[in-house]
Amino acid sequence: MAIIEVQGLTKSYQDGEVKNEIFRNIDLCIEDEKFAAIIGKSGSGKSTLLNILSGLDSADAGEVIVGGKKIHLMKDKELSAYRSKDIGFVFQSFHLIPVLSVWENIILPIQFAGMSVDVKYVEELMEMLEITEKRNALPATLSGGQQQRVAIARALANKPFLVFADEPTGNLDTETGNKVFELLVNGIRRYHQTLVMVTHDMDIAKHADIVVKMEELKNMKRGYNEQGQ
């Protein structure tokens, strides 16, 4: 069953009088409980696509349906609910709240969503991600790898059906990056979640069920097919 369906997605940026088109009329379909890796050159639009899928950015045209919900039609309030309940996001720069402890950072989305914290589940997550001992620590006292594991725990904490990750190992050394990636993938497999990850690392992409190459995605011209050429 397709969890993400994208049709005719177009995105461009206006830079002065010049219009820079990132991609035009792209289609994409990602199935449930799969790990999809989006790869491509710098500036190819990987992160933009991810931001649009996660509701952080809007497209110029096209439809984005995630878990049956039409993201492109959602208003701010619905998007907030979508981000807090349906999806999790892991960033390259961790983006933890500096004034909150590890525990508070993890349960934050759950509580903002107004849901009760499943303490057992969160503790299990922390144990799996090996950050139990850092429960009361502030982000500034953690290493990069530990911070990213907290970010992963936060992304999984509200039991989303879909997790987005934007180069989650980009700020980490290879060894730590691999470890974090392994934990992330283990996590989504364990809880039967879908993972959409933007990465430059081909070694990581190899582990994916689906590899979406931006260049290929952009070259699949819908108009061409429709004209029967």
Binding site: N51, S80, Q111
Partner: protein, 876 residues
């Protein structure tokens, strides 16, 4: 919504609310700089509101109290010197007033310990006495003959040894008789500090038995502002004419003395309201700007953090709740601190303000609950103004900002200019980009400049010498009874009071180096008949100059004109007051002469007098060469028995001597024609001092004036004279005023104007500086990326700082130049206008202080912010 889903929704809301509070608390403590600044701003605004309301209302109340004390009553209106006891009754029956009562000054009293002036005994009821600041504090109101209530000054005059129940021997002196009796003190009442009277009140029984009085005052109460002085006069005439008509009598219009209590209205004056509104508006704007700028800085710093919250699903509403929560915490912390400091500061400020305003009485700081409510409401406005926009910015920041991958923050480049780069051009472009912030800084700094320039110009334009002349201070030192000096100060007239002879003896010991004049006066009454009366009528009724002078003084006019008219209509002799003054030749030789010549030999011969002109134009009844008859002896009491021809027997029988008028002189100083007056009400003659001893009655020394040859002598002698007077009994007996103390007082007034004006400038200045610094700091924080980029592409840190300095320079130049110019124009216009009414204000603008302040502002603007902001460490 099903029951279960509704319960879930409620549960979600509850949990979410708790979380908001929790995260708000964490984020709150993470931004202590913002919190402290905001709390200080809120506390400052609350404090200023409490101080403004409490002190202004307290000073207003105290001023009213002082006005009422001087007026003598809290009644809304009063008819003074009523000639008939029937007036109050008629007025009461007229229905114009809510209430009408009266007090009768029955006479004076003497006791073993109190024989000086100001000892009056009165009759009135207890409630009226209460209105007149004589509230009974101990005992009760007199109910029968032989009982009196004494005021606190009476007790003071008797060394405090008067208590309720004491029996005191007293002499009550009335016009017709004197009564010596033992009276029982049945009560003690408060004294009116503003009136120099030690009062006692007698019972109605005594009043009815011995009805007499030399003054009756009728007090009327009505809705504040309902009547004017003229209305009161009109009411009385209407009431009396009705009464006359009812009795079949012909009514002649009265010109009664009426007055509306200046303090009876309980509304704030327009000026006070404007001051209060201005202070509050200024406070709200300045404090609001402080909160706004610090919140803006915080927003710039924390926008990513709030963006992260939005990334994980926090809604705009929840972000706003967090910021509101912070603002609320700052509000509930700052408000009580502000109110408390306001109360403390108000208690300190109140006596200082009362002292500077010359207000007496109990200085209680009025603290009403509504002042704290106002403080709470206005501080809330400050918080709202300060946080609303930053809160909106934070809540509406798209979460994509956090990821840093968007074009929404990119500047739109409409045109690419290929102009040469210069720091100045760059700085100007930056100011144009930040127009709103620059406008705020320009407004607040120009306001500081404006207030400062106006204040300095006011101080500079205050002409001390002209102001001293305003007080009729003609000698370096003047010594006389307090009442005499006060009359000269205010341009009024009044009877002179004697200076005891022993004081002259003491003054002679210390005033050797001074040019001292001892002013002696002898009062006499005379009646004018025939030719003399005709001359008098010509002046009083027909002379335009004199008439013009009389217009300024209705009280005198109402006395003199009826007397002159009565003579013309039925030949009734005219009562006039004569005043004989005695001087040595050299003391009068420089007087302005209208007619004749002051020949020394003739003046000292004892056969001539100088007639003082009746006004400043030289109009007089007696001209040079005329013969006048002056008394050589006086009766003790005015016996007005008339003979068949209407002449006053006792006065006509007094021994007189004929003198020839040597000259008609202007003697503005000695005949009490004060500044602005153009007339006198009686006749004054100047005689040589050697004639003093030949008079049957000893003239009274009423004033001593001294002029010093130089400033050092003046400074030394003034100290000695003051010490001498202090030894002789101080201000209770005689007062002193001097040019030096007046100058000191005026300089203090100038200092006060400077204190208030510059205090306001400093207050606005501090706020403006905080705004300016915050604006600069927030600007740098906002433009960190820009600075990093500029440094990354090779711009030296020095050049970057130079650009910032130029930005600041251009911004403050936009503020100080218009502020300076507008300040000069406004003060020139205001002072020129004020000088029409206040002659001691003459436009004498100064540019130096303004330029100095401009230089200081520019230096602060250019040096301080750049030193305090570490732009050099900006990294990409």
């Amino acid at each position: 919504m099903s029951k279960d889903s509704k319960a879930n929704w409620l549960q979600e809301r509850k949990v979410s609310g708790r979380m908001i509070k929790s995260i708000a608390s964490k984020l709150y403590h993470a931004d202590s700089r913002r919190n402290i600044t905001a709390i200080v701003a809120i506390a400052l605004s609350a404090m200023l509101v409490v101080v403004a309301f409490s002190t202004i209302m307290s000073i207003t109340t105290l001023t009213r109290r002082n006005q009422q004390m001087t007026f003598g009553s809290q009644a809304e209106g009063v008819y003074m010197y009523c000639p008939s006891v029937y007036w109050p009754e008629l007025l009461r029956e007229s229905g114009y007033f809510d209430d009408v009562t009266y007090a009768v000054y029955m006479g004076t009293y003497e006791t073993d310990m109190a024989q000086e002036g100001g000892n009056y005994f009165l009759y009135t009821d207890e409630r009226t006495a209460g209105w007149n600041f004589n509230e009974v504090t101990e005992g009760r109101w007199p109910q029968r003959d032989g009982e009196i209530v004494v005021d606190e000054r009476f007790v003071e005059n008797h060394d405090g040894n008067v208590h309720v129940g004491d029996v005191i021997p007293i002499k009550l002196i009335m016009a017709a008789q004197e009564v010596e009796q033992d009276v029982v003190v049945c009560g003690i009442c408060t004294a009116n500090d503003a009136l120099d009277e030690a009062r006692i009140y007698v019972s109605e029984e005594f009043f009815v038995r011995d009805y007499s009085g030399f003054r009756l005052e009728t007090y009327c109460r009505f809705e504040n502002g309902k009547y004017t002085d003229e209305d009161l006069a009109g009411i009385l005439n209407e009431v009396l004419s009705r009464e006359y008509e009812a009795r079949g009598l012909v009514y002649q219009k009265w010109e009664p003395l009426t007055a509306i209590n200046p303090a009876a209205g309980d509304k704030l004056s327009a000026g006070t309201m404007a001051l209060l509104s201005g202070l509050i508006t200024l406070t709200i704007i300045c404090a609001g700007l402080m909160v706004y700028t610090i919140y803006y800085i915080s927003t710039v710093k924390n926008v990513v953090q709030y963006g992260q919250l939005k990334l994980i699903g926090v809604t705009e509403k929840q972000i706003r709740s967090i910021v509101r929560c912070h603002a609320f915490r700052q509000y509930v912390t700052g408000l009580p601190i502000g109110c408390l400091t306001g109360v403390i500061f108000g208690h300190v400020l109140m006596p200082v303000m009362a002292s500077y305003s010359g207000l007496s009485g109990k200085q209680t700081l009025m603290l009403k609950p509504e002042y704290f409510l106002y403080a709470a409401a206005l501080s809330f406005i400050v918080v709202y103004i300060g946080t609303n926009k930053p809160m909106r910015i934070l809540s509406q920041t798209p979460p994509i900002h956090t990821v840093g991958f968007t074009d929404s923050r990119k500047e739109k480049i409409s045109r690419v200019h290929s102009v040469r780069f210069t720091p100045g051009r760059f700085a100007r472009k930056n100011i144009r980009k930040r127009k709103k912030k620059a406008a705020l800084v320009v407004t607040s700094v120009s306001l500081v400049m404006l207030v400062f320039v106006i204040t300095m110009n006011i101080i500079h334009s205050l002409n001390v010498e002209a102001l001293i002349a305003h007080f009729n201070l003609f000698a370096d030192i003047e010594i006389a009874a307090d009442q005499v000096l006060r009359f000269m100060d205010t341009g009024g007239t009044g009877n002179v009071e004697k200076i005891p002879g022993e004081i002259r003896a003491e003054l002679e010991k210390v005033s050797g180096d001074m040019e001292t004049i001892y002013h002696y006066n002898l009062y006499a009454f005379s009646f004018l008949y025939d030719e003399d009366a005709e001359k008098y009528c010509d002046i009083v009724l027909d002379n335009a100059d004199y008439q013009e002078g009389l217009e300024e003084d209705s009280a005198v006019r109402e006395k003199l004109i009826p007397r002159a008219m009565a003579y013309r209509e039925n030949g009734k002799p005219i009562l006039v007051q004569q005043s004989y003054r005695f001087y040595e030749y050299n003391q009068i030789s420089d007087f302005e002469v209208f007619e004749g010549e002051i020949d020394k030999e003739k003046y000292e011969s004892g056969e001539y007098v100088l007639a003082v002109a009746m006004d400043g134009y030289g109009n007089t009844c007696y001209h040079a060469g005329d013969v006048v008859r002056l008394y050589e002896e006086f009766t003790e009491k005015l016996d007005t028995t008339q003979d068949g021809n209407g002449r006053y027997i006792s006065y006509d029988s007094l021994r007189t001597k004929e003198y020839t008028v040597l000259a008609v002189v202007s003697d503005t100083y000695h005949n009490q024609m004060a500044w602005g007056d153009k007339h006198t009400s009686g006749f004054e003659y100047i005689l040589p001092i050697q004639l003093m001893d030949s008079f049957w009655e000893e003239p009274e020394l009423f004033m001593v004036t001294m002029n010093a040859p130089d400033a050092d002598t003046l400074a030394r002698v003034e100290v000695e004279v003051r010490a001498c007077l202090e030894r002789m009994g101080g201000e209770d007996i005689v007062s002193i005023r001097s040019k030096a103390t007046y100058k000191e007082g005026i300089e203090r007034l100038a200092a006060e104007i400077g204190l208030i004006g510059n205090g306001l400038a400093i207050l606005v200045g501090v706020m403006a500086l905080v705004n300016f610094l915050n604006s600069t700091v927030s600007g740098i924080a906002e433009r960190k990326e820009e600075f990093s980029t500029l440094q990354a592409i090779g711009m030296m840190k020095r050049l970057l700082i130079k650009i910032l300095r130029l930005e600041n320079l251009y911004t403050v130049l936009w503020a100080v130049i218009p502020g300076f110019l507008i300040g000069q124009l406004v003060s020139a216009a205001a002072i020129s206008k004020a000088s029409e009414i206040l002659p001691y204000f003459k436009w004498n603008g100064t540019v130096f202080p303004g330029i100095l302040l401009a230089v200081v502002i520019i230096l602060i603007a250019m040096i301080y912010p750049n030193r305090r902001t570490d732009i050099g460490n900006c990294r990409l």
